[in-house]
């Protein structure tokens, strides 16, 4: 159902953008004052629409109420952005941040991915439009829905590091971190449960710009390795623009306290720090299960061929990331 008048959107967040007769429309979900603590934002919305009232009675508006939201309702400006190579502890970091009641953590909302890909589906969509939508959506998702909300963090999809220049147009002063891990371990994880962007399907191949003509039994691993190299290189390239920090998986969770919080210019009470430490003791993607270090297991599963692929395609970028990480720490 669609309405044109401005509704009261207190407790509502944008969950989906869509085209209707060449106009951009917004589908809203009611989340009330419930904190976002699920590993991924879209899981919060799954829970929201599981309630039949929230599924049936949803505002669907033109773009204007979204654009007006931050002038009409209190919203947090983003505090920090988390980018990553995939399978490298970024969800652990977002879960640690989400353990603090004053933090709003937006973990890979699909609505942000929709914006960053909008120009692929519709080539007439301009960068200027995507910047404006991104700004509006992130502010709206950061609506202060509780009295204690102060900070808003966004964890992006892995491929979004390629869109960092555009994201910086929307939020030039927001500090960001790029997280990465030994590529052998990332490729082993991706081989087990491949993410869409690590499979050579057309929409992502175009977005990632990886020239791909591979075939054969190791084609999937090689494509994954080349994507990882592309993402890592994008992070290195963006370091010169400032506001960037690098974190290796093997520094977790202690580097969250020793490096990341300071980089994001936030500090927490002892109680909240304890909550973060407690969150780091659980599997980030399945918080009912205790965390188990799996680097050794992943290294053992890596075949010689997989190691060769990682060495050939990703190691040079990984080594560069390590050098840059040290350089940033000592400056």
């Amino acid at each position: 159902m669609t309405v044109n008048r401005a509704p009261d959107l207190t407790g509502w967040v944008p969950i989906r953008l869509y085209w209707h007769e060449d106009q951009l429309w917004v589908d809203w979900g009611y989340v009330g004052s419930r904190p976002f603590t699920a590993p991924f934002f879209d899981q919060e919305i799954d829970a929201c629409v599981a309630n039949p009232a929230n599924a049936l009675f949803r505002h669907q508006t033109s773009i204007e109420p979204l654009s007006a939201m931050r002038s009409e309702l209190p919203c947090c400006a983003p505090t920090g952005f988390v980018f990553h190579l995939s399978r490298c502890g970024s969800t652990l970091v977002s879960q640690m941040l989400a353990a603090v009641p004053e933090n709003i953590v937006l973990s890979e909302p699909s609505i942000i991915d929709w914006i960053l890909r909008a120009h692929v589906e519709r080539p007439n969509v301009t960068d200027q439009q995507r910047v404006a939508w991104l700004r509006d959506v992130i502010y709206a998702l950061g609506q202060k829905r509780s009295a204690v909300a102060r900070h808003c963090f966004v964890k992006f999809y892995a491929w979004h590091i390629l869109a960092l220049p555009l994201i910086k147009q929307a939020f030039p002063d927001v500090p960001w971190v790029f997280m990465y891990r030994d590529p052998v371990e990332v490729i082993v994880s991706q081989r087990r449960h491949p993410a869409a962007q690590m499979i050579p399907v057309s929409s992502y191949v175009r977005l990632l710009g990886v020239d791909w003509t591979g075939n054969g039994p190791l084609a999937q691993d090689e494509y994954c390795a080349r994507v990882l190299a592309r993402l890592g290189q994008a992070a290195v390239d963006q370091l010169g623009c400032g506001q960037g920090l690098l974190l290796n998986y093997n520094q977790l969770p202690s580097a969250v306290f020793s490096a990341l919080l300071g980089h994001f210019k936030v500090g927490y009470s002892t109680t909240n720090s304890e909550k973060m430490r407690a969150a780091s003791g659980f599997n980030a993607k399945d918080p009912k299960v205790p965390f188990a270090q799996d680097s050794t297991e992943k290294q053992e599963q890596a075949t010689d061929e997989l190691r060769q692929i990682a060495r050939q395609w990703v190691s040079p970028v990984y080594e560069r990331l390590e050098v840059e990480r040290e350089r940033i720490l000592t400056r």
Binding site: M1, D27, P52, L56, S110, W114
Partner: protein, 81 residues
């Protein structure tokens, strides 16, 4: 046959329109919205929507509500990923 088909189609349109107008009414009434939000069991929720709609002069069927509920959820589930 044509006349009864046309009649059925009109009734269906009429129901859909009534449900759409009732949804707009509910979205503008936080108290009524809360009543519905507190009914999380689907069959009871559908029954309540039909009953409270009827009380306010909006005539639609339980099947219409169920179809709309399914369609609304599908819009979220089938979002491009």
């Amino acid at each position: 046959v044509n006349r009864s088909w046309a009649k059925a189609a009109n009734e269906s349109d009429c129901c859909a329109e009534a449900l759409d107008r009732f949804r707009q009414l509910v979205l503008g009434d936080p108290g009524l919205l809360n009543v519905f939000r507190n009914t999380s069991e689907t069959a009871a929720f559908i029954e309540l929507v039909v009953a409270l709609g009827r009380e306010r002069g909006y005539m639609f069927t339980a099947q219409e509500v169920e179809n709309e509920l399914r369609r609304s959820r599908r819009l979220w589930i089938e979002r491009p990923l």
